[in-house]
Symmetry: C2
């Protein structure tokens, strides 16, 4: 009603000739491309002039299928300015203004939306262009390209017909390639194009340039909601409501003449980060010729030969267009300095004049990213904080593990889930025992299983990598492999394992035990044969960045380990303590598993105690080794967690072996396995429930912990202060029950040895009830450690072992954005963590809080932990460097957000 | 420090001779017995005078092992008053005051703590007593009883030695029974007792009566913490810190002479509630003679013969002691009127004088309770609200189901869990198919299984009762049986089912298929053979109480059903709608399961749709029947919930049958079963996840619902307003996804039929995440229904199928007080329900809230629902009357609590 009285909204922003209405800060509004064109224009760089329609136009168009009132008038005004700047006229025939119309959203969506070039050509303008340039071939080729693109994106005709017409004409005229086509040839093609369009649509191809422009703008706006763009955004977590900007720009032609060219340049070498003008160009070509790959591009610098053939060094831009090369170098340095980061620049040279079409932050390898960040910070171009924020912590993964040589040939046979990063080649082995045997004899092994279980640990530990056909990225195989730093591909569902035949097969191909395969746990791919590898690269830059991160972060970074021997590696990676030592893995060794099975099969307290007496010395040895290794750093030990049935043998053969070894009838083992069978083992008789049912077990473990703490403390001279953690707690009384045992055994050991040990007792919060009742439970606890794997399972009601089936459907349908087992569900699980922290600290101000689920190695989740004020994150050893950097970034972001 | 200046705390309260320091309201402080003695004394009833030490004394004693300062002096003062009142002297020899010392806590703990009678006797007092009463036998017998009790409770000597001494003396003297013992005989026994005590303790039996009294008080106080008392309290949910009072009272002797007696009387007949003096007495006896069962007691009233033999009617108190009988009748009426409830009175007659020793609210049968409450309210003795509050809702269970005749002989063979109330006899049958066949031929069947699954429904429905050897009170068998109102005993772990041999065996006994057994689902017992039964009793009083309840309660009571035919029964019981219709049970019928299996095995959308087309008409028929039955009352329909694998056949034979029927290879079924297998099915691919994976399924169900709503609405003339409920929701987007389908199908059906249907869409809250994110999810919902079975599983992280093992340990160790699957865990699960309600209503003020888990039939949980302000509870049909009463009680309690 009152709208006509308010100032009309501004939908169009012009740029060019050293001035611009917009700037680089306006990417939300002008898209990345539009904003950077405005910025470069304001910097005085040579940018073809033009204007940008804001994303608001797109939002309005997506909803109402029309552009908002006022847009047409603002476009008209901008076109007038553009005609003035260029001295050309749109639709004028002679001296005609030709345009490109491109989409450009805030985030790059390469190839997803429509682009139209050479707009403004028609039957008369093409003749004038031919005359002005003296190059009829160029003019008619440009016209046919325009008709093709416009017919495709605006008129929605099938491109195939146009390709067919060219094919037919080429054949008729006897031309081997497009390069041989003459002006007359292209003119003949254009004639057939125009006839075809008229026949298909019942009206002629639009000759009115205003109609062309309106149609092109509508088509580009419409392409925002085309299915592949929607799918791309869903896949990359981008929002439909962001909308795209549309940039309309005067055309420049890299294919106009021999002094013309087009290309892409990086301000640094993207694999190493070394400062040099790096990139490629094509003389006499338009942008799409570079992209299409029909012609091989040439190097920019003469020293930059790799991948372009040595003989091409003489054809480098530095040699062929030395002046332009020097100008580009200048521009490149200016842009890098201006943006304070390595740039990826698109340019065109038209008749010897350089135009910059686009600049953006360049993609680079992880190693390069580290070098650039460190170099720039040391040169005071950016702050150390900027340097820290600029590294994607997850990119460090590739530096910590071997990777497949990107140039190596590969024979892809299957894809699974990227369960643990790194790549490895080895012989297929199906049995963990055999894997251990062969590895001892020096063979490189890939352990292949449908899924793994705790008793396969020795085989996994012996293998170079693990491949499973079932299970997700948080399956047993995945979690253990990540802990060991071994590559793992899980859930490769198209592969079929036949244990009896000892074969691994996929569609039509069968591999036998002993055949070599390669797995890439970073991508989830599986290949036949061995492939050349790149070793892990731990550069000085890597160390520098982590040192800066350590000086910046608030949260401590600890590590999760299974056996004492993991601790050394974790300390090398910078772990400041153990946040989770899973004691049950100590029971899967060859001799120990027998004592453990004896325990599980025990029918009387006496029987149980004799089994525990056997286990005590080995537990104590484990803890001594661990405490010595950690030399006074904090160590959190989780009491026995898994349900009893996990310790029983599964196959008939193993049952028989165990029966023989323990001198019991095999039926007894079968019967016990049947009694222990659970419908939902995740929610079963495990965790602190086992400790309460069989108090002799925590008694043994706690005795081992205290005896070891005293022994290790005496040897290293650094007192050990164990943190004893109870798993799967839901009730305060559970804590009180076990705490009473811990305190009693501690008193006993201290009395027996005459030594005193400080210790704390805390819980793993894995159940919603523990979070909800935190204010009570905290009264009995010294620390809370969030076991976010299980907490996610219980809060969501999703078993991670069974989730693969529907979580993928959920992701595709946009119901979840990220796998909640990888990135913490801040809204649900996070809410309970916050509740537990706030309520727990209210009654226990000294409460130590941490997280030890898989999420502790995920940067987004680490940011949540910083916000929640946790004291530490604890992740698998190979994730420690990532967590150190991510914790620093989180500290910076939270500080910035708060200030 | 300053204590001596404050008024000393009062630890001792006297009563007797028509006055009292305390009253009935002080039970927390004086114990039930002490408080009622004070009250009766104040009423002017004939109560032996005495005084009571408060529970505070016990609390202090339990902690410090001494009585508080001031107690000894207050006891001395009270003794002085007592000597005055009785005109006797403690420790005086002649005219000696004799005492009883008894414990008495707030709640009755029969036989758990110590009692000492005849205290104050010693070597001189006994002689004086003999002289005064002229009855040496009575005096010496009283002395030896005192020595015995005192030695046991205070001196901690083994009673066996004393029994031995009597035996030896009786033999030596040639007496057949105690009745033949003379004064001299008892004196000889006393001499040996005293010698024995001195020999054992090295000092003589205390002759000083003050020492006796102090010792007795200490012993009674100490008995509060004896192991059996602690165990009793743990079992009955009583608190250790409550403490017991100690009542010291002048002795009266029911065994003094022929005009003496002792007995117990009820103010009404406890089985029927009919007003009459009912009870039994023993002439010339002390209280413990009645309890010990050595002598058969006689009836009080001459008309009251049952159980006492007809020939005993002439020996009734009414005949033998007519004056005392009349006085007792008077007292009885006065006490019932005074307390406003039926009383259970202990009395003693000493030489013709009646003394009342104790009165308390009498235990009664459920039927009697109803009659008494209604009669008293109609006589304006109590209010209707009092009447409602006086009935234990759970006691109604026994009136709704058949029960075993309490007088029948029984041959107990095993005990399981009381999974569904009622009793039934029938032949053992192991296969559901056979059960259905035999039932059709008129046989009465008990279906015996290790555990049941949804495809056993037809067999369960045909059986009289169900017996399983695995599973808890919320197992499939239990839940379905309760829904059907059939008795069920679950988890009878000592029984062993052998399906191949068709036997049911227990230690040493084996039953074959066809043998008759009886199960009692109210107690969990299993018996061999058939046993006489009592039919359910739905009296007018029952109906009256429920009418009053309906007028009082705020919450609606709905019911949970599986098939339309359950609805009629539920309406008879007063259900005001369906809160949960589990649609999957409709798919287990003989023909439908095949179509359902076809659906599960379908590999393409086409295949799936053809299976769904087969299911549509039968779903529609089910819903038409249901809507007609409910005639416009609200009906909540849950969309398909179970995981697909529940519909597949389990045994090889069934797999083969299914394969034949569907014309697919059996391997396909096996393969599909393997693919669908889940590690934790509770947390798997079920609930709304199935609807999102296969949208054609909700489309079919929703179409059936709307077509049926229109058809039934037209037939009954009452418009149907379906409430469609999505199970296992955790995310708002899940609701949006399925709601879009519902809205679309609803529009389609309305367009096709030209009819309009109002409907609502809501969710089952079974996941912590749904509760935590309620403020978002409520934006997409019309109602929340709390599925507290699953919510308890996820909040606690306990699978109810696997919980039996450790929950019992937990209960015994006092870690949980009640099974959280039976009584709602208010602190954990309840907290999340409150959170969901508060946050949900904040964004959606019209949000309807209810509960449809098993807890909806549990009175304690219903009280929580009232406090949380839920709109309705929905329970299985047989629980509806219980819920109606419990909801009324909850409304009254919350109102009283709030006022």
């Amino acid at each position: 009603m009152g709208e006509e009285h308010t100032a009309p909204e501004r939908y169009v922003f012009s740029f060019g000739a050293g001035v611009a209405d917009g700037s680089a800060e306006m990417a939300d509004f002008l898209g990345g491309k539009g904003a950077n064109l405005a910025e470069m224009s304001a910097l005085g760089l040579s940018v073809p002039p033009g204007f940008t329609l804001t994303t608001e136009v797109c939002r309005h168009f997506s909803q109402h299928r029309v552009v908002p009132d006022g847009v047409e008038r603002q476009v008209r005004d901008a076109m007038n300015r553009l005609e003035e700047t260029t001295g050309r006229h749109f639709g004028a025939g002679h001296n005609s203004l030709l345009l490109s119309v491109r989409s450009g959203a805030r985030a790059s969506m390469p190839g997803m939306m429509d682009t139209i070039l050479n707009l403004g050509l028609n039957d008369s303008a093409v003749e004038a262009l031919a005359e002005e340039t003296g190059d009829g071939r160029f003019a008619w080729d440009s016209y046919r390209r325009f008709i093709q693109m416009y017919s495709d994106t605006v008129l929605r005709l099938d491109l195939e017909f146009f390709e067919e017409i060219i094919e037919e004409e080429r054949e008729r005229l006897g031309r081997d390639s497009d390069a041989e086509m003459t002006a007359g040839d292209w003119k003949a093609v254009v004639t057939r194009y125009l006839a075809f369009v008229e026949e298909e649509l019942g009206e002629p191809f639009p000759q009115d340039v205003e109609t062309q422009l309106r149609g092109a703008i509508r088509a580009v706006l419409g392409s925002w909601m085309n299915p592949r763009a929607i799918a791309f955004r869903a896949l990359h977590g981008l929002q439909d409501q962001d909308g795209t900007a549309v940039t309309i720009q005067a055309m420049v032609f890299g294919n106009r003449d021999d002094r013309s060219a087009t290309g892409v340049c990086f301000t640094r070498e993207p694999n190493t980060g070394v400062k040099t003008l790096y990139g490629e160009y094509l003389p006499r070509a338009q942008g799409e010729d570079v992209v299409s790959g029909m012609r091989t591009p040439l190097p920019l610098s003469s020293g930059q030969a790799s991948g372009h053939g040595v003989d091409n060094a003489d054809r480098s831009m530095q040699v062929v267009f030395p002046n332009v090369y020097d100008e580009l170098k200048c521009v490149s340095e200016r842009l890098e300095a201006h943006y304070g980061d390595m740039q990826d620049i698109e340019f065109t040279v038209e008749s010897g004049k350089l135009y910059i079409l686009q600049t953006r932050t360049a993609k680079r390898s992880a190693g390069a990213a580290l070098r650039i960040a460190v170099e720039m910070a040391e040169a005071d171009l950016i702050t150390r904080n900027d340097a820290l924020l600029r590294i994607d912590p997850l990119s460090l993964v590739s530096l910590l593990h071997a990777s497949i040589d990107p140039d190596a040939e590969r024979d892809h046979i299957a894809s699974g889930l990227p369960a643990a990063p790194g790549a490895a080649s080895g012989q297929i082995v199906f049995s963990p025992d055999e894997a251990a045997d062969l590895a001892e004899r020096g063979k490189k092994i890939i352990l292949v299983r449908t899924e793994t279980s705790p008793e396969d640990i020795h085989g996994m530990s012996a293998a170079e990598g693990i491949l499973t056909t079932r299970g997700g990225t948080t399956s047993h195989a995945a979690v253990v492999a990540r802990g060991m730093g071994k590559p793992c591909v899980s859930g490769a569902g198209t592969l079929r394992v036949d244990y009896d035949a000892k074969t691994l097969s996929t569609m039509g191909r069968t591999f036998d035990e002993g055949d070599t395969i390669t797995i890439d746990g970073t991508t989830g791919e599986v290949f036949a044969g061995a492939i050349a590898m790149r070793k892990p690269q731990l550069s000085d830059d890597f160390r520098t960045i982590l040192e800066w991160a350590d000086a910046t972060r608030r949260m401590k970074v600890r590590t999760n380990i299974d056996v004492a021997s993991d601790a050394e590696l974790a300390r090398d990676f910078g772990a400041e303590g153990i946040g989770l030592c899973r004691t049950e893995h100590m029971f899967f060794g060859d001799e120990r598993i027998l004592a453990m099975r004896h325990l599980v099969l025990a029918e009387t307290d006496n029987d149980r105690e004799s089994a525990l007496l056997t286990l005590l010395p080995s537990q104590r040895r484990d803890f001594v080794e661990l405490f010595e290794q950690m030399a006074g750093l904090p160590v959190t030990i989780r009491l026995l967690d898994p349900p009893f049935h996990e310790f029983l043998p599964h196959t008939e053969e193993e049952m028989r072996e165990t029966a023989d070894a323990l001198g019991v009838p095999v039926e007894k083992i079968e019967f016990r396995a049947e009694t222990l069978r659970e419908t939902n083992p995740m929610l079963g008789h495990r965790g602190v429930r086992v400790a309460i049912s069989y108090p002799a077990i925590p008694e043994m473990q706690v005795r081992a912990i205290f005896e070891a703490a005293i022994e290790a403390g005496q040897r290293t001279g650094r007192p050990v202060k164990p943190e004893i953690m109870l798993p799967l707690v839901g009730l305060q009384r559970e804590v009180d029950f076990v705490r009473e045992i811990i305190d009693r055994v501690a008193r006993d050991v201290m009395k027996e040895t005459g030594q005193s040990v400080e210790y704390t007792v805390g819980i793993l919060i894995e159940l919603p009830r523990a979070a909800v009742r935190a204010s009570l439970i905290a009264q009995s606890c010294d620390f809370f450690s969030f076991g976010t794997n299980d907490l996610t399972q219980t809060v969501f009601g999703i078993s991670r072992d069974d989730a693969a089936q529907f979580l993928e459907t959920y992701r595709q349908a946009g119901i979840v954005e990220a796998n909640p087992f990888i990135t913490l569900d801040v809204e649900g699980v996070g809410e309970l963590i916050n509740m537990a922290c706030v309520n727990g600290r209210a009654v226990q101000p000294e409460l130590l809080t941490g997280i030890c689920g898989e999420h502790a190695g995920d940067p987004k989740s680490i940011e949540f932990c910083e916000e929640a004020g946790l004291d530490y994150v604890s992740c698998s050893p190979f994730r420690v460097p990532i967590a150190r950097l991510a914790a620093a970034q989180a500290a910076l972001r939270v500080k910035n957000g708060a200030s």
